[in-house]
Amino acid sequence: MILPAAFLQDPDFIRFLYIVAFALFIVGMHGVTHVNTARRGNHIAAVGMAIAVVATLLIEEVGDYGLIALGIALGTAVGVPAARQVKMTAMPQMVALFNGVGGGAVALISYVEYRDALALGGNPELETLIPILFAATIGSISFWGSNIAFGKLQGILPGKPIGVPGQQFVNLALLLVAVVAAVAIAAGAESEGLFLLILLSAAVLGNMVVLPIGGADMPVVISLLNALTGLSAAAAGMALDNVALIVGGIIVGASGTILTRLMAAAMNRSIPNIVAGGFGGDGAAPAAGDGEERPHRSTDATSVASQLTLADRVVVAPGYGLAVAQAQHTVRELADELEKRGIEVSYAIHPVAGRMPGHMNVLLAEADVPYEALKEMDEINPEFPGTDVTLVIGANDVTNPAAREDESSPIYGMPILDVDKSEQVVVLKRSMNTGFAGIDNPLFYNENTTLLFGDAKSSVQEVLAAVKEL
């Protein structure tokens, strides 16, 4: 008779559980790609994760349960309150931090795995060693890069690009040091010092790559770090002969890569170009500095209210400024008020509105905007010519027609929301300052554009009050 314990610890049984686990990851992720099934998909993936953890705990060689419990307890104590309390506006920082700890875990595990091998008598076989070296390098880059991204998003570090002279050469040199040290170990050098050198140069590289990147490029950076963390986890899985880790890691790698490409395309920039240096980081802020004041028309809340109430179709184009001012709830109230009067209101969401992919959608969902009202750029752009009034709230570069028309503009070619094609445009902004990219926006001087100056939230509140009075 087979004892239950022996059966449970049977490697084939464990492998079977891993298959169940990663099948659930894939089914879950498939669910997450549709609004109606997303929540269930997330639950399914979580069940898969629970199965993978239990299966691993069953493995015969696994022990030191006290230390494992301690680690899990510590992680739970930190993770649960963080996840419960984080504000939706702070989600980019949260995701950056999560990317970081994932990369950090990979780097630590590869380091210990290498130490263990040395203690057992020397370098492991190449098929284990190469994934370890890869995981250590990428994990360390991701950990430090993510921490810097977190610092920038949280406002601990300045959001503006921080440059170092000869940046690219320094980065290249650091990468070279890491690669040479890795090759030396792979070629037979048995040295913990060399391994630490890899971790260290990758750490400095992670810092150096993210520090010069400006706030507007953050969606790309976060996606890229997400992809790197996934890849490093997959590499760790190859080193440890663990299928669940390989599949889980590579799914994250794939997802991160897809998002990185989408974000880079939405900004019309290549990934190497973003990684190589900040946007206008060399102080080359064109056009904006020319000082020539062009005429623009400012307006007041009452006029905006009458414009809105006379319209049949209104589009709101929100940008990060809306999130900063916490105006999303007020905007939704205004939309409700207009819809009561039979006016159709929809929202034009640029892929990089916000500080991470899809951030604006989450913020508006939190304000109870139905997701059907949120329209993607390709869907809404043909609809602008039939729109009576477009309200641009806290958005700038993503509405800049220079991207479409002016070949000399640094953002030429970037896909934008064609808000200027609607009958009337009202831009809510703080002042005439330029956006993140420091580029002047011809939209502001158009004949059909009026500007309502002030804090986004109080401006929308005033318009709302004026609409209610009409």
């Binding site: 992720m29 992680g75 963080a82 590579i250 790698g253 992919p357 899809g358």
Partner: protein, 113 residues
């Protein structure tokens, strides 16, 4: 398991990942990213696997930290994703509104009786 089997799994899983995730709408980019954060927390398995065989205080300490990091990812990631997804609501369907209206009209005459 030999290297080639692992590479096969890696490559196939990468293609599956691309196929499954490539059609994700903008609306779900942030939840997708935090869900994948939770999934790469799976690296905690790595820590669990080697903690018993590792020797020395430093190694064990680093692995406890790694397990804690992985757990933060897994638990925090799934929780925060769920919180976000709970926010996404559709428009109330017209049928539901009608039903609600019907219920009201039915209720009124009874009340007036």
């Amino acid at each position: 398991m030999d290297l080639l089997t692992e590479l096969t799994i890696l490559v196939l899983a990468a293609f599956v990942g691309f196929e499954v995730i490539s059609k994700v709408p903008n609306t779900l980019h942030t939840p997708l990213m935090s869900a994948t954060n939770a999934i790469h927390g799976i690296v905690l398995l790595g820590g669990i696997l080697i903690v018993a065989e590792s020797e020395g205080f430093l190694s064990k300490l680093l692995l406890v930290i790694a397990i804690a990091f992985g757990t933060i990812n897994v638990i925090g990631g799934f929780l925060v994703t769920d919180r976000m997804l709970a926010l996404f609501k559709g428009r109330k369907k017209p049928e539901e509104k009608e039903k609600a209206a019907e219920a009201e009209t039915k209720a009124t005459p009874e009340a007036s009786r």
